[in-house]
């Protein structure tokens, strides 16, 4: 068994030394990206270019489109900034201060990621209603509108930011921070002057992911938007009114804005220096002393709990007790009635999630190497780096429509259509995390391995992969959870198959007696299963930590 594996690796290795083989590996990954990821996500939209006259000719529609795009931009920017500000301290706590409580927090952070977006919207709405803590305190509930949208976006983008930051921080050498401390820097100053600048690439990567996620999210936003209209909501409202023009115009506008922001930030990253002005060291000294760090830590944890975890879980928490009633739990476990659909949905969702993660891992790794190592020059790297983020900045509802249009003539089985849609949506997460991880691995380690006789494949599997494995895991978790909770595009491409999120949407849309309870329970079960999977993954990856 072992020797078979060795022989296989040896075979792959000797193949990788051959120039045309490695070229074709890159070629295939580029082709995969263009044909299966970027093409379907964009061409469907571009083919509708003719319909933009609907918008341009209509003054009222045009000004609605403009203000919706502007709202999207402001929303995404402010949410991402909030994410980073609140995410840095939490990531630092999780990585530097070990302990059972923080391990639990670390696991909790991922929860909102596995909740289907529609139920997440529902849950956030519930949390801030009169039945939540606001009502308990005698305060008026939050009505659907921009405040709730901000809170919602914070709750689903914050976990993405923390996940990426934690992955990056684990790979960061503690020695620099210690050196700063011995040179007289307080913990706060050391973090600001040494740790944070050292992983500015992680900050940028997570900012962009959060930004993109906020720009494109549709399913959950609808639940809490009220009269507020950002890009995706505008598209949805227009589609409901039978107009396709707004989809094309808004999608293109949002994509262009995002690409400009991405590019600007990548350029700025090089010149990015904290502090922008002279920092107040005395203030930082005071901040590092006495109870302040503890109070700060508690505040950060409170933010996590009250703005992310509780809102995301309120639906499950509310209905979870009912799960334990004899009758219902028998029903759920035996899979009778509606629960039969539910369990087949679970199987479908997780199969698709695993498949999508696996396929994207295989094809995005060569792409990430191509980008980060500049295999075909800097310009090519920059182009692919920007293009690879396109699928997550397109509003998910528009992406779904584009997909259907692209594939509809090819009679693709529905299952594979869903897989293709998920591949497009998750691909950017994986590439972004991998690129930023690869950028942090000193290239001379790989080069030395080569001169010691390791072929490209062996070098990758023995040096690059082990050194990047935390980021790889973060990327895989993001991909998997994103696929399991994807709603907007899946709704657009599926007709008979029901993944769990689609099923839950249908339950919400077509209420039946006890449907709210069923949604709550369904979400809880999905959560529990995902948490178990995530915990297993994490334990496996932490087993062999290097001293």
């Amino acid at each position: 068994m072992l020797s078979t594996r060795r022989r296989l690796l040896g075979f792959l290795g000797s193949l990788s030394s051959i120039r045309w083989v490695s070229l074709s590996v890159y070629g295939i990954s580029v082709g995969y990206f263009l044909l299966l990821i970027l093409g379907p996500a964009t061409l469907g939209i571009l083919s509708g270019l003719g319909s933009i006259n609907q918008v341009i000719g209509d003054q009222a529609l045009m000004s609605r489109a403009l203000s919706a795009v502007f709202a999207s931009f402001v929303l995404a920017t402010s949410v991402s900034v909030l994410d980073i500000l609140a995410g840095l301290p939490l990531a630092w706590l999780i990585v530097r201060k070990k302990g059972i409580l923080l391990s639990i927090l670390d696991a909790l952070v991922d929860l909102p990621l596995v909740i289907p977006t529609v139920t997440l919207g529902f849950s956030v709405l519930l949390f801030w209603s009169s039945e939540g803590p606001l009502g308990f305190l005698g305060l008026p509930p939050l009505a659907p509108g921009w405040i709730l949208v901000v809170l919602l976006h914070f709750s689903f983008s914050y976990p993405v930011v923390v996940r990426v930051l934690v992955g990056k921080m684990l790979e960061l050498n503690l020695v620099y921070e210690t050196a700063a401390r011995t040179l007289g820097a307080t913990p706060f100053t050391a973090a600001r002057t040494v740790t944070i600048p050292l992983f500015s690439s992680g900050i940028v990567a997570s900012f962009l992911l959060a930004f993109a996620r906020s720009m494109s999210e549709t399913g959950a936003t609808i639940m809490v938007a009220g009269a507020f209209e950002n890009g995706p909501i505008f598209i949805r409202n227009a589609l409901n009114a039978g107009l396709e023009g707004p989809l094309v115009v808004t999608s293109i506008a949002l994509t262009v804005i995002s690409l400009v922001v991405f590019y600007a930030i990548k350029v700025l990253e090089v010149h990015f220096r904290l502090p922008f002005r002279r920092a107040n060291v005395d203030l930082e000294k005071r901040l590092s002393r006495g109870l302040v760090p503890e109070v700060g830590a508690i505040a950060i944890v409170a933010v996590l709990l009250f703005f992310v975890i509780f809102p995301a879980l309120s639906l499950s928490l509310r209905y979870a007790p009912a799960t334990f009633s004899q009758q219902i739990s028998t029903q759920i476990l035996s899979g009778s009635g509606i629960w039969q659909d539910f369990w087949s949905g679970v199987v479908l969702s997780y199969s698709i999630g695993l498949l999508v993660t696996g396929i994207n891992l295989v094809f995005s790794i060569p792409m990430a190497i191509l980008i980060s190592r500049g295999r075909f020059g800097k310009t090519v790297s920059t182009i692919f780096d920007s293009l690879s983020s396109v699928p997550i900045v397109i509003p998910s509802v528009a992406l779904g429509v584009s997909m259907v249009f692209f594939w509809k003539n090819l009679a693709i089985p529905e299952f594979w259509l869903i897989v293709l849609a998920h591949l497009s949506i998750t691909y950017p997460y994986l590439v972004a995390t991998l690129v930023s991880a690869l950028n942090d691995i000193p290239i001379h380690l790989e080069e030395t391995a080569r001169t010691l006789g390791a072929d490209p494949f062996t070098t990758f599997s023995t040096i690059t992969l082990p050194l990047a494995r935390y980021s790889l895991l973060s990327g895989a978790i993001l991909t998997f959870t994103r696929s399991v909770d994807e709603t907007g595009a899946t709704l657009a491409v599926s007709s008979t198959m029901q993944t769990v999120p689609v099923l839950l949407v249908n339950w919400v849309k077509n209420p039946f007696p006890g449907s709210e309870l069923a949604v709550g329970i369904g979400t809880s079960v999905l959560l529990l299963t995902s948490v178990v999977i995530l915990l297993v993954l994490k334990t496996l990856s932490r087993e062999k930590r290097v001293a």
């Binding site: 120039r19 080069e447 010691l452 023995t462 040096i463």
Partner: protein
């Protein structure tokens, strides 16, 4: 059979020519030091030989076979970068075993090879330590045997002693040479430290702006540098500007402004030309009374610094220029010179080398600060 051959090799990075039409032959078992200032193309040379970058022009041969198209892992040239590049996620043992494992060597053979090598560098007790737990010297030795364990017969060392403390550096110089000869290795050792190159190398290649400025035995490069740059880079030398007053075959008479005339060796200089005379500091003798047959300049002792085996005297000449004389410690202790003493600086004609004055100015030419 020659081990490494470079034929008119050129490498450009964007607009910068890192290696400019270099041809060289490095023999089997030879220890060559590539010496040069920062940015002279030394590291690029190693990367070209190891196959990490490919030349834009010319050909590289190893053991007589062209290797331009051969990837690094099939060249058998182990590169040891400046910071050793030990793999941080592997123990010392795993690091050393990396090469043979990658090459698919039989596991029993790997175990034998690694343990033997770890014993040769006396690190067998540290086999399970991670690089971060090892001292700089230990890391260097692990990196060295790791290169060897891969089966490479050509060792490419990029500033191998650069990160070590002075004492260790001197010890390891001797060790490196001994190590290379014991295992019959061909070594290309890149350094910017001329004393390191002189003490280790069988042959020195002085590199500048991507070209070979001079090559030869350490003795040749040290005693008869071919160019003004070589003279200033190898060995401690005093440089004096002057005008050629007379040419007598292989020697010239040079007038140093306000300090007198001196005789120096030169080729191709004409009367009336500006020149720079270079003299090694240890060839400058200090005396109360000038001896016959030697060049002589007068001045006053400005500073005396004991530097171990020799003393460094700073003498201010009457023209205001400063020259430095290295006097063996034993002589210095009995010569009765103090700061302020009037003194003659004497040197033999054959120790003074006269070069054409560089077009772009002296400071720029010798890359002084």
């Amino acid at each position: 059979m020659p081990s490494i051959e470079l034929h008119e090799v050129t490498k450009r990075f964007a607009d910068v020519v890192a290696i400019n039409n270099v041809s060289a032959v490095i023999d089997d078992g030879e220890y060559v030091c590539v010496l040069g200032p920062t940015g002279s193309g030394k590291s690029t040379l190693l990367r070209l030989i190891s196959g990490l970058v490919n030349p834009d022009g010319g050909e590289i041969k190893i053991d007589g076979t062209g290797v331009n198209e051969i990837p690094p892992e099939h060249r058998n040239t182990a590169l040891m970068p400046q910071n050793y590049a030990l793999f941080p996620h592997m123990t010392a043992w795993e690091n050393v075993a990396y090469g043979p494992t990658s090459r698919g060597v039989d596991p029993g053979e790997i175990t034998a090879r690694v343990s033997t090598l770890l014993k040769t560098v006396r690190l067998q007790d540290w086999a399970n330590a991670y690089p971060s737990q090892l001292s700089g010297g230990m890391q260097q030795r692990i990196a060295l045997v790791r290169s060897l364990a891969s089966g490479a017969k050509i060792l490419l060392l990029d500033e191998p002693l650069g990160a070590l403390d002075a004492r260790l550096r001197l010890d390891l110089r001797r060790y490196l040479k001994h190590f290379a000869k014991e295992f019959g290795l061909t070594v290309v050792h890149v350094t910017h430290d001329q004393s390191e190159a002189i003490s280790i190398a069988d042959r020195i290649m002085l590199l500048r702006h991507g070209r070979i400025e001079q090559e030869g035995t350490p003795r040749a490069v040290y005693f008869t540098p071919g160019t003004l740059f070589a003279a200033s880079f190898v060995g401690d030398r005093v440089l004096m500007e002057g005008v050629v007053r007379a040419v007598h075959g292989e020697t010239v008479t040079v007038e140093v402004e306000k300090a007198g005339e001196i005789r120096a060796r030169a080729r191709g200089l004409r009367e009336g030309e500006l020149t720079v005379v270079a003299v090694r500091c240890e060839s400058l003798q200090l005396a109360h009374h000038a001896a016959d047959g030697l060049n002589r300049l007068s001045g006053r002792v400005a500073e005396i610094r004991p530097l171990g085996s020799y003393f460094r005297y700073t003498v201010e000449l009457h023209n205001g220029n400063r020259v430095y004389s290295h006097v063996p410690a034993l002589n210095a202790l009995g010569n009765n010179l103090h700061v302020g003493s009037d003194v003659h600086v004497c040197f033999a004609t054959q120790d003074a080398l006269s070069y054409k004055y560089p077009e772009r100015g002296l400071a720029k030419e010798v890359e002084a600060f």
